[in-house]
C-alpha cells in the first residue's frame, strides 16, 4: 500500500508527463508511433527508419543544437536513446542509466552501478549501448554480467539477476529487447572462450524463462561440427540486440565468432552455431532454423550485426525477408519464415571468397586463413561493417550501411584456454593508412551499390533514415551529418568535437521533430529553430 501511495505521489509530481506505461502492444506498433523511440532500432523489424517528416531535404540545413548533455565518466559512449512519454533514457559507461528531459537535457534520475576492481573486459571497451523499456520498467545489462530492472519514473532498482560470471569473461554491453512479458538479453565474451547463449527473463520478476546456447553440447545435434571437446570454449557470443517478428513469434539473433578467434586448428569443423543468425521461438527459445554466414570462421567475423526484417519482392515474388550486411563483406537476403537462402552479394572489398554458392555457403579462397607470418586479407578484423546499426527505408527501398574499407594481416599463434583470459590465438596488423569508410546505399533486394558518401576512416557510426528524405550518420572525426537519402549528397553537418560511435534516433519533443546522437562523452540534441 505504501509503495502504491509513493507511486501515486511520483505520478502526481511529474505533472503533465504520463506514467511510463509502455505495454507490449506499443512496442509492436512502434513504427506507427514515431513520436516516441521505443526499441533499440525504433521497432522490432530493426529498420532504424522514422516516418517523421518535419525535417526534410529542404529545411535540414537549418538544424541547430538544442542542448548537450555531458557525462562524467571514462569509457566509450555508444548509447542509443529510448524515448517514451516525454522521458529520454540514455546509458553511460561503465553501466549508468540516465533519464533526461528531452526538452532541455536536464537529468531526472541516474542509476550508477559501481564496477568491481577486477572487472574483466576482454576484447571490447567499457561501454553500454542502451536500455529496453516495457510497462513501467527499463532494463539494462551490466559490464559485470547482470541484468537490472529499474523503475522508469524514478530509477529505483526493481530487481537484479546475475546473467553470467564476469570472472570467466562474460559481460553485457548490448541493449536488451523486451518481447511480450519477457526481456531478452545476449552476452559478450567471444574473446574469452565462453559458451554463448540467449536468455529470456520474466520482466516482472527477473526469473529466467529460458536459455538457448549458441554452441551445442555433447550429445546435441551440431556438436559434430566441433573437433573433440572444442565446443566447450566455442564462444558464439550474442552481444548485439536481435530483431523480432510478432506475427511469426520469432526472434532473430546474430552470433559471434568461434573461439579461439584466429587459430581454427583446435576446432576443426563448421563450428555451429557461430557467425550465424538463429531464429528462436520467443516463448520457449527453441531454435526454428539457423543460417551460418561464415562456417569455420577464422577472421573474427561475428554476425553481430542488425538482422533487418523487410517485406520485399524478390524475383517477382513477395517475400518476408531478413536482410543484413555481414562483417564478412557480403550482403544477404534470407527468407525469415524458413531460413532459406535467397541471395548474397559482396558490398565491400573482400579477398577471402570467390562468392556464395546457391545454398548460401561461401566459396572460400584457399590460403586466406591466418598464418604465423601474417596473411593479408580484406576485410579487416573489425569487418566491412560492425555493430553500428544500418537503416532500411521502405520509402526508398535502400539499405544504408556504415562501411569499413580496410585490410589486415592476420596472424595465427599458439593458444591455450585459461578461464577469464583472452582466448584468441592470433591477431591482426591493420592497414590503417590506406583505410577509409562510407555510408553506402544498397538496393535492399540485391545489395548493389547505389551511392557512397565517403569518410576519411572506417565508420563506427550507425545510420538513421527518415521520411523527410534524409539519412543521418556520423564519422570518427566528429562530423554528424544529414545526406539526401536518394543521392547521398550532404545537406547539413555539425562538428560535435568527438568520435561519433553510436546510433542516431529521432522523435517528437512538444510536437517538434528532434534528432539525437551520442558522441565523444556527450549526448547531442538537434532541432529546427522554434518559430
Amino acid at each position: 500500500m505504501r509503495r502504491l501511495a509513493m507511486a501515486v505521489a511520483v505520478t502526481a509530481l511529474s505533472g503533465a508527463v504520463l506514467s511510463g506505461q509502455v505495454p507490449y502492444q506499443r512496442l509492436v506498433d512502434a513504427a506507427k508511433t514515431p513520436g516516441d523511440w521505443l526499441t533499440y532500432n525504433g521497432g522490432y523489424f530493426g529498420h532504424r527508419h522514422s516516418t517523421l517528416a518535419q525535417i526534410t531535404t529542404a529545411n535540414v540545413a537549418g538544424l541547430v543544437p538544442a542542448w548537450i548533455y555531458q557525462v562524467a565518466g571514462n569509457g566509450q559512449m555508444e548509447t542509443s536513446a529510448i524515448v517514451a512519454d516525454g522521458i529520454m533514457y540514455v546509458t553511460e559507461p561503465p553501466t549508468t542509466v540516465t533519464a533526461l528531459d528531452p526538452k532541455n537535457g536536464r537529468p531526472i534520475w541516474s542509476y550508477v552501478r559501481p564496477m568491481p576492481s577486477n572487472l574483466r573486459l576482454i576484447g571490447f571497451p567499457a561501454t553500454n549501448r542502451g536500455v529496453a523499456i516495457l510497462d513501467d520498467k527499463v532494463f539494462v545489462g551490466s559490464l559485470d554480467g547482470a541484468l537490472i530492472a529499474l523503475d522508469a519514473q524514478t530509477g529505483a532498482v526493481r530487481w537484479e539477476v546475475p546473467v553470467a560470471d564476469n570472472g570467466t569473461g562474460h559481460s553485457i554491453t548490448m541493449a536488451p529487447l523486451a518481447v511480450k512479458e519477457k526481456v531478452i538479453v545476449g552476452i559478450s565474451g567471444g574473446e574469452a572462450g565462453i559458451r554463448g547463449f540467449v536468455d529470456a527473463y520474466d520482466a516482472k520478476t527477473g526469473k529466467l524463462a529460458w536459455r538457448t546456447y549458441t554452441v551445442p553440447a555433447a550429445g546435441e545435434p551440431g556438436v559434430e561440427t566441433w573437433a573433440g571437446e572444442s565446443w566447450k570454449t566455442g564462444a558464439g557470443a550474442t552481444w548485439l540486440t536481435g530483431s523480432y517478428d510478432p506475427a511469426l513469434n520469432l526472434l532473430y539473433w546474430g552470433t559471434g565468432n568461434p573461439g579461439p578467434d584466429w587459430n581454427g586448428d583446435v576446432r576443426k569443423g563448421d563450428n555451429l552455431y557461430t557467425s550465424s543468425v538463429l531464429a528462436l521461438d520467443a516463448d520457449t527459445g527453441k531454435m526454428k532454423w539457423h543460417f551460418q554466414y561464415t562456417p569455420h570462421d577464422v577472421h573474427d567475423w561475428d554476425a553481430n550485426q542488425i538482422q533487418v526484417l523487410a517485406d520485399l519482392t524478390i524475383d517477382g515474388r513477395p517475400r518476408q525477408t531478413l536482410i543484413t550486411a555481414n562483417r564478412n563483406a557480403f550482403y544477404y537476403v534470407l527468407d525469415r519464415v524458413t531460413g532459406e537462402f535467397l541471395h548474397a552479394a559482396p558490398y565491400a572489398k573482400q579477398t577471402w571468397a570467390k562468392g556464395i554458392d546457391p545454398k548460401g555457403r561461401p566459396r572460400v579462397i584457399e590460403g586466406t586463413e591466418p598464418t604465423p607470418e601474417g596473411n593479408l586479407v580484406y576485410p579487416s578484423l573489425q569487418g566491412s561493417t560492425n555493430w553500428p546499426s544500418p537503416s532500411y527505408s521502405p520509402q526508398t527501398g535502400l539499405f544504408y550501411v556504415p562501411v569499413r574499407e580496410m585490410g589486415s594481416y592476420y596472424y595465427k599463434t599458439d593458444v591455450e584456454y585459461e578461464p577469464g583470459q583472452p582466448f584468441t590465438g592470433g591477431g591482426e596488423r591493420r592497414l590503417a593508412d590506406e583505410a577509409w569508410g562510407a555510408v553506402r546505399a544498397l538496393d535492399a533486394r540485391t545489395g548493389a551499390k547505389v551511392w557512397d558518401f565517403l569518410l576519411p576512416s572506417p565508420s563506427w557510426s550507425g545510420v538513421l533514415s527518415t521520411a523527410g528524405g534524409l539519412v543521418f550518420s556520423g564519422s570518427n572525426e566528429g562530423n554528424f551529418y544529414a545526406l539526401d537519402a536518394k543521392s547521398g549528397a550532404p545537406l547539413w553537418q555539425f562538428q560535435v568535437g568527438g568520435m561519433v560511435r553510436s546510433n542516431p534516433t529521432t522523435f517528437l519533443v512538444d510536437g517538434r521533430q528532434h534528432v539525437s546522437v551520442a558522441a565523444g562523452r556527450a549526448v547531442f540534441m538537434f532541432a529546427l529553430p522554434a518559430r
Binding site: 576484447g123 599458439d414 593458444v415 593508412d433 562530423n479
Partner: protein, 269 residues
C-alpha cells in the same frame, strides 16, 4: 635537517590516509609493484616469452604489431598512462580500471616484467647497437640541413616529426631505414595528400587533419591550407609516400654517425 625529520614523521600518517581514502587499494590483490631491474636488462629469452604473452593477452586490442586496434598504438614509444619503465610494469599488471584488464594475476611478477620488456622493445627493437660516432653525427645533422624540416631541442622548422627524444621512440634499425627509404614507414600524422581544387593549382603536402567535410594540408613551404572537401575535384591520399628526401647518397660513415646521434637523443628532461 628539520625538513627531513618532518617528512619522516609525516609518512606513516600519509599511508593511513591513503588506505582509508582508497579502500579499493588497501585490499587490492596486487602489492605495490616494484621494478627491480630496468626493462632494458631483458635478455632475448625474456623478450621471446614477453612476445608470447603479448600475442595471447595484448594483441587482441593493440594489434599483433602494436599498431593499435580497439586499444591505442604502442609504437609511439611514449605511453600516455606510463611515463617510465616502472609505470609500464605497473600498467601491464594492474591495467586501467574499466578500460584495460590487468594481467598481473595471470602472469605473476616475472612474466609481467618480461611482457613489459617486450612492449618497451617494440619501438626500439631491430638490429645491433649503432656503431657510428655520435659527435660526428651531430655535425652531419647540422651540415645536411635536417633542421630545415625537423625540430631538435627547440631549434629548427616544424614540418617533419620532432627529433628531440627520437631515441626513446625509434631504434637504430628503424632510423637507418627512415633515412634510406623514408616512405617505407610513414610516421602517424604525416600522411601525404594531393588536393585538387575545382579552380587553382593542386596542393601537395602533409595532411594535418581531415574530416568528412574539411581537410587541412601543410605544403612543403610550411603554408597551411584549409580546404572544403566539397570544393575539391580530388583528394588523393598517397599511401606509402613521404615528403622527406632519401639519404642513400650519404657516405656510409656519415649515415652511421647520424644514426648513432639520433638513436642517442633522449630529450632534455
Amino acid at each position: 635537517m628539520a625538513g627531513v625529520c618532518t617528512r619522516r614523521r609525516a609518512l606513516p600518517a600519509l599511508t593511513v590516509f591513503v588506505a582509508l581514502a582508497l579502500p579499493g587499494l588497501a585490499r587490492a590483490q596486487y602489492p605495490a609493484p616494484v621494478l627491480e631491474r630496468p626493462l632494458s636488462a631483458a635478455a632475448p629469452a625474456d623478450i621471446t616469452e614477453g612476445q608470447r604473452l603479448y600475442n595471447a593477452q595484448c594483441a587482441l586490442c593493440h594489434g599483433i604489431d602494436g599498431g593499435g586496434g580497439y586499444g591505442p598504438s604502442l609504437l609511439a614509444g611514449t605511453f600516455a598512462r606510463a611515463a617510465d619503465d616502472a609505470g609500464l610494469y605497473t600498467l601491464v599488471r594492474v591495467g586501467i580500471p574499466g578500460v584495460m584488464p590487468g594481467f598481473g594475476d595471470a602472469n605473476g611478477p616475472r612474466r609481467s616484467w618480461q611482457l613489459a620488456a617486450f612492449v618497451r622493445s617494440m619501438t626500439r627493437a631491430g638490429g645491433a647497437m649503432p656503431t657510428g660516432n655520435v659527435v660526428n653525427g651531430r655535425t652531419v645533422y647540422q651540415a645536411r640541413g635536417c633542421a630545415t624540416c625537423h625540430v631538435l631541442d627547440g631549434e629548427g622548422r616544424a614540418f617533419g616529426p620532432d627529433l628531440t627524444a627520437i631515441g626513446l621512440r625509434r631504434g637504430p634499425a628503424y632510423l637507418k631505414q627512415a633515412l634510406l627509404e623514408p616512405a617505407a614507414r610513414v610516421p602517424d600524422g604525416h600522411v601525404v595528400v594531393t588536393a585538387r581544387p575545382k579552380s587553382g593549382a593542386a596542393i601537395r603536402g602533409v595532411r594535418v587533419s581531415e574530416d568528412a567535410f574539411w581537410v587541412h594540408v601543410r605544403d612543403t613551404g610550411g603554408r597551411l591550407h584549409t580546404l572544403r572537401v566539397a570544393d575539391l575535384t580530388e583528394l588523393r591520399r598517397e599511401a606509402g609516400a613521404s615528403l622527406m628526401p632519401a639519404y642513400g647518397t650519404l657516405p656510409a660513415g656519415e649515415l652511421d654517425d647520424l644514426v648513432a646521434y639520433l638513436a642517442g637523443l633522449r630529450g632534455q628532461r
